[in-house]
Symmetry: C2
């Protein structure tokens, strides 16, 4: 009985540092999960390699993949498409390996619908953690700035709702450690482990 891999989705508000955390995680040699490379129609930036940083596609190619249902999730930003090819994710999971996605919140919402028992991690911006630690020092900020912050914080907290875990990005290394711990822990969750044992007893 081949055990399926875990779909790990890292997301969070834009500017939170998802990409930095993801790069740090994948720079570590002892990692037991696979990174799912995104697809985009934007032009490669200097140093970016096709099939490493992104799969670079034309608009026509991308729209054909959308039509064919080949994308697990996708979204358009500033005139460019970004998305996750579904085949790689499905094959890797079927082979019993964990897959790691780093995507925007809209994309995460789409993935949740298709993989309800994926592992959804919300990266919290330092600004929200700071707010939590009450560093919003009154008197040093205008009321507008404070109201703006509070409104952004409200939106960010609203977004959390979809996720299983919330990780503060106070320090990249610490955020990575927490994410790795979450993956280890999730593999030990009774709901995931117990059916294997039960099945094993039936079979034997």
């Amino acid at each position: 009985m081949q055990e399926k891999g875990l779909l790990i989705v890292l997301s969070g508000p834009s500017g939170v540092g998802k990409g930095t955390v993801r790069k740090e995680i994948f720079s570590q040699p002892d990692l037991a999960f696979e990174y799912s490379i995104s697809m985009t129609t934007r032009a490669p930036r200097e140093g970016e390699v096709d099939g490493v940083d992104y799969f670079f596609k034309t608009r026509e190619e991308f729209e054909k993949l959308i039509e064919e249902g080949k994308l697990l999730e996708y979204a358009e930003f500033v005139g460019n498409y970004y998305g996750t090819p579904v085949d790689y994710v499905q094959q890797t999971l079927d082979n019993g390996k964990d897959v790691f996605l780093e995507i925007e919140v809209q994309g995460a919402r789409q993935v949740r619908e298709k993989f309800p028992d994926g592992l959804f991690i919300f990266l919290v911006p330092p600004s929200l953690s700071e707010l939590k630690n009450r560093i919003v020092t009154r008197g040093t900020e205008t009321e507008d700035v404070i109201n703006n912050r509070m409104s952004t914080a409200r939106d960010e907290i609203e977004m959390m709702n979809l996720y299983d875990y919330v990780v503060e990005n106070d320090q990249v290394e610490r955020a990575c450690e927490r994410i790795k711990a979450i993956v280890v822990a999730e593999h030990c969750r009774r709901e995931r482990v117990e059916p294997r044992y039960k099945k094993m007893l039936e079979v034997d």
Copy 2:
């Protein structure tokens, strides 16, 4: 707003090595949780220190504590009482620190009733893991031995039902790493984190 600590309960079938794993965890310097020392009426063994290994009590003292509701859980084994003093646990949790209990399965059941949102970890004996890995090599064991094993395994799997996590004790160090990861992850669970953020916004 003082955040409450997490109650961590390590249990599992007798002989699984709960005590060894607990000792290994508490031999590590970077630990962020407190061990709740058990109380017993059995005589101290050589080298055991009152207030370190156990709180040693007379039968009369122990029964008085039971009557006064001062025990979070207790059980009698081979004519001796073993139990967990509730005051230490409650005070430590109220102070925002995590408390770690290593107790028998009957005790864990009692604790679950009083602390439903505690973190319950079931340590799985290597024999069950081995069964999972199909090391029950046919032909080398009598049918009685195999049936016996299967029956024990069934009982052990039955016990898992109460727990949040299942950790294989294949190697003490690995079991400890998993338990520590579970505690880190649990502190990041959205259900635990989100109310703090929500409350913070109301307050500010």
